[in-house]
């Protein structure tokens, strides 16, 4: 983190929602622009080069991942935080896999949102309880599943026991600080675990990861 106020760009097709977020963010960030669809978002973001883009998962002409992919090709340094009411796990995972650094729901409070923006601006990953749940679900039960294709790359295709613990606590509603206290580790360590999970989520080629969401696992 640079200490400076992060420059933020909003992408959401609901005007009402954009102005709501603007007022919630207040002076904590500098909003450098807004867009309501994929094309104008790509154009304006590459032009204004914000630190963080708050990105709706569903846009009129497609998923938010289109914006992430296009902008990352020009400027891999711009960071994205997905912000949505959408509950469909496959949509959320698609945006994360395209390169977003986190996912929070629109029910998030103002201070929590500011905190999340600052974390993403600082290069951390932001996992809401819901995203933690999705990820646990996506990686769940793989080793025990008899007959399933073995992981191509165990380093990427499985979560470590510690990462699972961290994700479970986040899913239970713990903040990073509370997770650190509960596991008796440093907050920085929690952040590195979460970043590692994000990396696995983005780099794993396990095909189940892209497919899993279609049917909820009954075990």
């Amino acid at each position: 983190m640079t200490g400076a106020v992060p420059r933020v760009f909003l992408v959401d097709d609901h005007h009402l929602f954009r102005s709501g977020v603007r007022s919630e963010l207040g002076d904590a960030v500098e909003v450098v622009g807004e867009a309501d669809d994929v094309e104008p978002a790509i154009e304006l973001i590459t032009e204004r080069r914000p630190d963080v883009v708050l990105l709706d998962i569903h846009l009129p002409s497609g998923g938010g991942q289109l914006v992430v992919e296009a902008v990352k090709r020009h400027d891999p340094g711009i960071r994205f935080l997905a912000l949505s009411v959408s509950d469909a796990p496959e949509d959320v995972i698609a945006v994360i896999r395209a390169g977003a650094r986190g996912y929070v729901t629109k029910a998030i409070s103002g201070p929590e949102l500011i905190d999340a923006v600052q974390r993403v601006a600082g290069g951390d990953a932001v996992f809401s309880p819901r995203l933690a749940g999705f990820v646990l679900d996506a990686f769940a039960g793989m080793p025990e599943l008899a007959g399933a294709t073995p992981p191509v790359d165990p380093e990427l295709d499985q979560l470590s026991p510690r990462e699972r613990e961290v994700l479970r606590l986040i899913a239970r509603g713990y903040t990073y600080k509370e997770v650190a206290a509960d596991l008796s580790i440093a907050p920085k360590t929690v952040e590195s675990h979460v970043s590692a999970v994000l990396r696995k989520l983005q780099l794993s080629t396990r095909h189940q990861l892209t497919r899993w969401a279609t049917e909820r696992r009954l075990i």
Partner: protein
Amino acid sequence: MRGPRDKGRVQRPAEGRLIGGLGAALSARTGVDVTLVRIGLVLFGLASGFGIAVYMVAWLLVPAENETDTIGARSLRDSRGLALIAGLVPALVLSFLLASAIGAGWLSQLAWPLLVSAAAFVLVWRNGSESERALLRRGAAPLLQIGVGKTRSWKVFAWRAALGIVLAAGGVAALTVGHRNARLAPLGGVALVLAAFVVVFGPWWLNIARELVLERQGRLRAEETTELAARVHDSVLQTLAMIQRHAEEPQRVVQLARAQERELRSWLFEGRPPGSFADGLATVAAVVGQIQHDVEAAHDIRVEVVVVGDCPLDEHLEALLAAGREATVNAAKWSGAPVVSLFAEVEADGVSLFVRDRGRGFEPADVASDRRGIAQSINGRMQRAGGRAVIRSAAGQGSEVELRMPRRRPA
């Protein structure tokens, strides 16, 4: 090839009919596959004109599904229609005369069924239901259009007409002249005449069939839209109306909006239609969703739910979820926090449930307060069902209830 039989009276269904719906009616009554019935009817109709006449008369006498009287009954009151039919009699006499003139006995055989069919056709045309008349009108459209004709493809039409006339002439010739092979000639003649019809009218008929399919699809889509509108009205619009009425009470508005948001979400992303929350609560995830719904509706609090995995319920898991519900309600009532987190994880060997709030908390060591009483009841419930409960709390630091139930594998 046999489907279920319908024991009731024979009636022509409103849906799934091709012409008069008699094939479908027969199929429904006998349980024989409708396509087989239709093939049978067509063969019957082709074998002798008599088959067509039987079909047309049946159309008059078999009531339609949504009508009380038959077309025949209505026709008796249709004096103009009856007069028109009376006018057909001279046509019959004429054809008899013609037949004997050119020495074609087959024509007089054909005249009777033709007359009956034509009469029935006229009556259906005049007295059928609106949809039947529309069907006939459309079917007859090419005949009526020949004179008027759209000029779009005159050349094509001229070619088709010429070919049709040649074929028809060949057919008639075969029918009237071909005495050498008494069996084959009439058959060949009929085939040629039919071919002539197909050449001339085929494209129109195809067009009509396509329009019918399109219309059907359009109707289905319209029905879907109506259902969607009804659902949206029942849920979203009602809620919006309520919100307007409670505009002065922000808490109530938030509560309403929240409940609606959840309902819409479970509809859009989980395919559960609004209002169906109480049904089919057969899995852990479904019951957790129900707990969220009920607690948010009854208390001014947001319940954040995360569920990992899912499994069907048994009595032990029901006990776990009942305890979880109690813990959630407890937090909603006493914690004073704006949010309760509910996390459920289904694993191969057990199901865990965590209920956490950041409210005022309590000292577990304190003398039995209301909250502790409830905590003990949660504990007892879990132990009786073979699970365990751990309650962590401290004054001012919120509380968390951890519930775990081992899973019994069905042997």
